[in-house]
Amino acid sequence: MICKLHKLAQRLKSSLWMLVVPPTVWALHFLFSYVYTAVRCAKSGSVEAIVDIRTGITVATVVALLLVAASGYVAWTQSRIDGDLRPYQDSTDEDRLHFLAAATLLLAGLSFVAILFTAIPAFIFEDCI
């Protein structure tokens, strides 16, 4: 099973589309967190809303982190595919793949942390004020 997934990850060629997955997930999670909190706070009392908000943000955060981790994993396997030597700066398919994979991996790391930072306030504040 895991072996199969690994094979699949190796076959999913890194591309610009792959590169934009982590920041896009981060942006959507960010948007969801803010909009959902604003709506819940406006619709119910300032203290009652917090349970809903925590549940919603927890679910969104888990989903977002899984997506980001998955794209990070794909990028990581591809950055280890054999090819030319560093630096990856020539206009060959291998260099392009390595470059995109490395950039995707870094963006995934950044997005992972950013998503956590967006979620933390929901677990520290207890009301909408």
């Binding site: 956590l116 930072f117 520290i124 504040f125 207890e126």
Partner: protein, 337 residues
Amino acid sequence: MTDHNPDQFSVFKPISRSLLRLIFGPVLALLYGCTGIQSTFSAFGVEAESTRSLTWVMTAAATVITIGVLWLAWYAARTPASQLDYKGGMRVIFWFGALGPTLLLSVLLVFSLSKMRTLPTGTDDLKIAVTGEQFWWRARYLPVGGQSVETANEIRIPVGRTVAFALTSPDVIHSFWIPGLAGKVDMIPGRTNDLVVRATQAGVYRGVCAEFCGLSHAHMAFDVVAMEPAAFEQWLTNMAHPATGGDSPGRKLFESYGCSGCHTIRGHIEGATIGPDLTHFGSRLSVGAGTLPMTLDAISRFIRNPASVKPGVMMPDFREISDKDVAVISNYLVELR
């Protein structure tokens, strides 16, 4: 180059000394402004205290990070090339460029968020509804189980108790700021903003309007008195009483000059809500929203020509009033305690 030439340095000495004076003069003068009755650094409430500790922790962390970054730059510039291999370089970037900052930021984020939490409130906390109006403050105290009490241009709170302010405005945006007590909160027409505070130290302080609201924005301040709970209860009971004193000549003049069209003096002349409630005016610490001292001269000056004190003020002038009449009215007002 030969030996050190002492003259070389003596040329620079006077320059650097006057430069130091040039820098430290203003810095000291500015630091002097960091204390007193209207300063976040002289905190007398839990909110301002946590803001202050947040400031110190952030400053300390920023100093450490700055020194660290400068050291790294210095180290990188001085280290010969090829000191680190590719792997070693990547490891430095990983620890000092990614993991280190992330951990540090996480700690600071959680610390600062915990400092931003609002104080918990209960149903038996004192509520004070304050509206910012051009260019003064209307305050209505809503004690639990007691009758509501309206007053103006002065906020008194009991030490050690949680107080919930409900802030709004009928005209333009103002901002309610008692620097020693808590952060500022905007007063927005059509909206009520909450501010929860708890004073920790009795004393007399000062608050201001912190959002430009018109010509006399800078003259829109108020006195803040944090009192021991027993003294506060006594004060509030007194504020709930109507004005004493019978048919004084001042009271008649107050009516005949039309002051009663805008000002309420409970027990004497009621119903008007355009201007500040003057029921216990004489017990206030200042005149005209923290702009003049509470003296007979200042009251007379304000009544005769309020715009000379506060440009754009919403009270008409009474320049034609005789010296005698204005003195009688001022005496009457200052007796209202």
